[in-house]
């Protein structure tokens, strides 16, 4: 059920991002809410479910963005691995850490994408625009709090459903039962 809920949420965000949010003026940037969802899932989900959702969202993102299939699954999985690696040392599933983490991850992903584009077309180097990148990072920092809040409430809703046992096929957290 976790996979289904967050997959549907991801699809809704993807649709919004490719349609409605494109109407925003250029100076406001194009907020990557799907990336915030990837970060949130990486922080909150267990490895198996997180990997499945992230892989599916990466494959879907491939359909609507870019030229090369497989690029987004790789990027999202690297973000997932990076965050899971950090989470073993720092309690990043706490709200206060998530926004800075999303911003830092986005910066790394942008650098990775830049290098990838550079390797594809070395004769026309892609333009690294600090203005655009900083605008995107600022945008993520500003909307990160409220968006993570919404994701949290969805996660709480899912947990409450699981806890009350209303979801078919969900197991109790009590191992000694």
């Amino acid at each position: 059920m976790f996979i289904l809920i967050f997959l549907i949420l991801g699809i809704l965000i993807l649709v919004l991002q490719t349609t409605f949010l494109q109407l925003l003026p250029a100076w406001l940037g194009n907020p990557d809410i799907l990336f915030l969802l990837i970060v949130y899932i990486s922080c909150q989900a267990d490895i198996l479910r997180g990997l499945v959702v992230i892989l599916l969202l990466g494959l879907l993102m491939d359909v609507f963005s870019g030229l090369f299939l497989g690029l987004y699954p790789v990027i999202y999985l690297l973000v997932f691995a990076f965050i899971k690696g950090i989470s073993r040392r720092v309690a990043i599933n706490e709200f206060a850490y998530q926004v800075p983490l999303a911003v830092v991850s986005y910066l790394f992903v942008s650098i990775g994408m830049f290098l990838f584009s550079l390797s594809l077309a070395p004769d026309i180097p892609p333009q690294w625009s600090w203005g655009t990148i900083i605008l995107q990072l600022l945008m993520l920092a500003v909307i990160g709090g409220p968006v993570f809040g919404i994701f949290d409430s969805i996660m709480n809703f899912y947990r409450s459903l699981s806890a009350t046992g209303r979801l078919p096929g969900t197991k109790s957290a009590n191992r000694f039962k």
């Binding site: 699809i11 993807l14 649709v15 919004l16 991002q17 490719t18 349609t19 409605f20 949010l21 494109q22 109407l23 250029a26 194009n30 990557d32 799907l34 490895i47 198996l48 990997l51 892989l55 494959l59 879907l60 491939d62 359909v63 609507f64 963005s65 870019g66 030229l67 090369f68 299939l69 497989g70 690029l71 699954p73 790789v74 999985l77 691995a81 899971k84 942008s110 994408m113 830049f114 990838f116 584009s117 594809l120 077309a121 004769d123 026309i124 892609p126 333009q127 655009t132 990148i133 995107q136």
Partner: protein
């Protein structure tokens, strides 16, 4: 005793974590590598596009309605409408003028040896943009026509203003279009007045770089750049843009020429797909 057991338990948990993580990552990487580098959609990708496409269409229509309402009725009610109409008229005149110039130039160059056929437009298909690439690094669109309508990979996509791009891949009802301004796009072009040929490559922003133009070639600033028809993808004579900057560096054989696109890519809504991939002047 207890401590050592706890420590061993912690170690085994860590090993299990890394084993599980490693196995999953390996499996997924194998899956990704098997399809990496491909540009053609596989069945799951097509399925994804088909499922999400209708949602995109619906949201896109609502967004366009809201955006259109705001633009047309709330902000600058009459002025914007009049301006839009005047711009459309100006565009029509510009297009007519370019077509006329192109026809005259072709006639003179061939010294009336060939009779310029009244070039009937090849079969075309109108499409609407239902989604835009959200990434900063790629420039693609999703349109609401697909392989069931006859759309195939490589078909040129244009507007009244000029070249937009070409079809990258398609599912039965939707297609992905690579914009001409994407760095992975290249179009055979020539300048209208001086007939210098080159290749227009996207710069990832609203500009093209005109490649392989020798320093000895004479290109003028403000000159129109049109498709040359070479390469067999774009028909000859479609407007690409105007020469906006010319630089001749001391090194190298070629000039550095920048071209301003004729199409305003931020204002695109409806597109025309040219179903025939050959030149307008060819049979």
């Amino acid at each position: 005793m207890n401590r050592s057991m706890r420590k061993r338990g912690k170690h085994s948990r860590q090993i299990r974590f890394f084993l599980l993580f490693g196995c999953l990552l390996t499996a997924i990487l194998i899956l990704i590598i098997s399809m990496a580098g491909r540009k053609e959609f596989t069945a799951p990708h097509k399925f994804g596009l088909e499922v999400i496409g209708p949602f995109q269409t619906a949201v896109s229509k609502v967004s366009n309605f809201v955006g259109g309402f705001w633009e047309k009725y709330v902000a600058l009610l009459h002025v914007r409408e009049e301006n839009k109409q005047l711009r459309q008229e100006l565009l029509q005149y510009k297009t007519a003028n370019i077509e006329y110039r192109e026809a005259v130039a072709t006639n003179v160059r061939l010294q009336k040896l060939l009779e310029l056929k009244e070039s009937l437009p090849p079969p075309t298909l109108t499409a609407e943009i239902v989604g835009k690439d959200p990434s900063l690094w790629f420039r693609t669109f999703t349109i609401n026509q697909g392989s069931s309508d006859g759309v195939q990979k490589g078909m040129p996509v244009v507007t009244v203003e000029g070249v937009v791009g070409q079809v990258l891949t398609s599912s039965p009802n939707y297609s992905k279009v690579l914009l001409a301004t994407d760095p992975n796009s290249a179009i055979d072009v020539m300048t209208q007045k001086t007939r210098v040929q080159g290749i227009a490559k996207g710069l990832g922003r609203d500009a093209f770089a005109l490649h392989y133009v020798l320093k000895s070639a004479e290109v003028e600033k403000g000159e129109y750049v049109l498709t040359s028809g070479l390469g067999g993808v774009f028909p000859k004579g479609l407007m690409v843009g105007t020469v906006s900057e010319i630089r001749k560096s001391r090194r190298g054989m070629f000039q550095n020429i920048e071209v301003k696109p004729a199409v305003d890519f931020s204002q695109l809504e409806h597109l025309i797909i040219i179903m025939k991939k050959y030149s307008l002047t060819e049979d």
